[in-house]
Amino acid sequence: MKILIKNGLVVNENEMDKQHKNIIIEDGVIKEITALDKIEENEFSEVIDAKGAYVLPGLVDIHVHLREPGFEKKETVKSGSMAAAAGGFTDIACMPNTSPVIDNKYTVQLLKYKIKDDAVVNVYPIGAVTKGEKGEELAEIGKMAEEGIVAISDDGKPVMSARIMKNAVEYASMFNIPVISHCEDETLVEGGQINEGMTSLQLGLKGINPLAEEVMVSREIALAAGLDTHIHLAHISTKGAIDLIRDAKKRNVKITAETCPHYFSLTEKEALGYNTYAKVNPPLRCEEDVEAVINGIKDGTLDCIVTDHAPHAVEDKNLEFDRAANGISGLETSLAATYTYLVKPGHISMQQLVEIMSKNPAKVIGIEENKVTVGAKANLTIFNPDSEWTVDSAQFYSKGKNTPFNGKKLYGTVETTIVNGKKVYSRGMGICL
């Protein structure tokens, strides 16, 4: 299969091309990147006109909840991977807090079969740290590693016991896979619903103090330093945590960290009116934290942008606030939100966007980095930064329509997503199966 992408502006993490180019893909690999000469289009099975848009290395999202097995009404490998493709992602890693939890080799195998049959993008399983994510006994990390998990995490929950976390970090390092820590001290959350601040005071909702995140981040930094082993911190949202991570990195502690678009664009005020679509864990914070997240991305303290894609069925969100599920369905807004809130205002460049949305996430989970260079695997995202659109989650491929971005204007659309040399999504035609 031979594909031609005409007139695209190639962006890699280290440089943006000065001129538009033609990109030729053959048999899943980038064959040539040439100047805009007249080219014989007949020999190509597919010709894509990028119309001057950016051609980025395929984006990598290492924090996605696909909900399968067990919660298929919220999402499936199929629908979630379609949402990923529509969002410009060619590679995603999925969290194990399904039912059953992915904590042994058989459930990993089951998931791999599902991925083989149904996924339209590359999907990498993450295994649990503890059996059933109960936080009591280590899961069979070695056997799961043999099946190809790329990391372990009890995400959704923290590993409350320092002893278990220490053992997990040491044990997992033998298989060269990182532990991804959901940083939350449960004893400090105690029925909290949104960030502790003026909004929680006004609405009469129990607040979650930022210390719940910071205390756990502190612990994980100490463990990473003491064990001299890499720990990756999930969905960082507070100024305090970012300051701790920055200091730790200065001391060369092996910590990497991720954040999500909602933490650099929205505040706790989204919850006003008891809007359950703004309910997420960690919660949306205040302006000070948003600013800290943006600065943390700019100076490299935060390595990755992920979505923490958490789709829910309507009936799980259409409830009294305390009972509504936590989570935002983020795959289909992430790239545009990152462009709108970080690139457009001049906080980061497109090259940095590629670094934090493609290169660094790939590095954390140890998969091959995507690059728009000759010889590289053809995982590409064509992104038009100029188009303006209003988010309407009813149009999402994801079964999860739960997003506080609904009705908000974003800049930038994914025009085409190419996975392993095949066009998987185009904005005009949708998912191409």
């Binding site: 105690e190 502790e196 601040g197 003026m198 929680s200 005071l201 609405l203 009469g204 909702l205 129990k206 607040g207 009116g273 008891y274 259409n318 409830l319 009294e320 606030f321 305390d322 009972r323």
Partner: protein, 302 residues
């Protein structure tokens, strides 16, 4: 009057109108007239998903004194215990041709939540930690009959963090021009509350200095497990409203409490029995205020 969710939505004029109307009803009831026709032919449904004695009974009687037809749903003994959702329960009641639903719920925001699903008017009888508008109104009626609001010194004492009564009273007193001190253990006073225009104290004697009114809040004993304070004994010593401490307040300072009271925890038996404690008066004010609000919401001719 449309739906009543929160006193924050009421202007000073609206509040005074309600208080004047309530004053009228209170006088009438006191002289034995408990039979009005204002709500004849109207149906008021009480949906109480959280335990209540005062609010529930006074709302029901208020509706009945106005001539309405009523029914009371409480969680226990209802299909709520079979797992029926709040939306479905509210819609079910709505479809019985109700004109107003008075809702008490443990979840903040519950009245707003059901408003998207039902046609009846909605009266918030207390939602979670958020608001309790008729409590604030009845507290104000009780004060109105004795004092002026402008520059009135009021101390709200107790578990401010978990109290919808505190929040609603702060809003209404601010609207009416009073000065407010809040006081409680640091663990029970929410961060940022000073931004609502109140002064924060952790010492009771300083908080009630020269006050005209003390609004004492119930300590929710079940919360002790969370470790907000070490024991009820220590709480009573530091924050209990008792005779010895009242010398710091004004001579004619009144003590109020939304009820139910925990004797020996937030208030002493002696104070409850004394003349300056208006707990019983508040109950009667409650019926009157609820009559006023229901009348303004559903009433036809007078």
């Amino acid at each position: 009057m449309n739906n009543l969710y929160d006193v924050v939505d009421l202007s000073k004029n609206e509040i005074m109108t309600i208080l004047d109307k309530a004053k009228y009803f209170k006088n009438q009831i006191t002289t034995g007239n408990k039979s009005f026709k204002n709500l004849n032919g109207k149906t008021v449904v009480l949906a109480f998903f959280e335990n209540s004695t005062r609010t529930k009974c006074s709302f029901e009687l208020a509706a009945k004194y106005l001539g309405a037809q009523t029914t009371v749903l409480t969680s226990s003994g209802s299909s709520v215990l079979k797992g029926e959702t709040l939306i479905d329960t509210s819609r079910t009641l709505d479809y019985m041709a109700s004109d107003a639903i008075v809702i008490r719920h443990s979840q903040s925001g519950a009245p707003y939540f059901i408003s998207n699903h039902i046609k009846s008017k909605i009266l918030n009888a207390g939602d979670g930690l958020h608001a309790h508008p008729t409590q604030a109104l009845l507290d104000m009626l009780t004060i109105y009959e004795r004092k002026e609001f402008q520059n009135l010194k009021v101390a709200i004492v107790g578990d401010i963090l978990h109290s919808r009564v505190a929040r609603s009273n702060i809003h209404i007193l601010k609207t009416l021009g009073a000065d407010i001190n809040v006081c409680g253990p640091k663990t029970l006073v929410p961060k940022g509350i000073d931004k609502l225009g109140v002064k924060v104290f952790y010492n009771l004697e300083q908080a009630i200095k020269n006050c005209d009114v003390i609004i004492d809040l119930r300590i929710q004993l079940e919360r002790q497990d969370s470790g907000f304070f070490p024991s009820t004994g220590e709480y009573f010593k530091l924050y209990g409203i008792k005779e010895e401490v009242l010398k710091y307040a004004k001579e004619d300072c009144i003590v109020m409490h939304p009820g139910p009271v925990n004797r020996g925890v937030e208030i002493s038996s002696g104070i409850i029995a004394s003349d300056r404690c208006l707990v019983d008066e508040q109950v009667l004010s409650g019926v009157a205020v609820r009559m006023a609000v229901l009348d303004m919401m559903l009433g036809g001719e007078n």
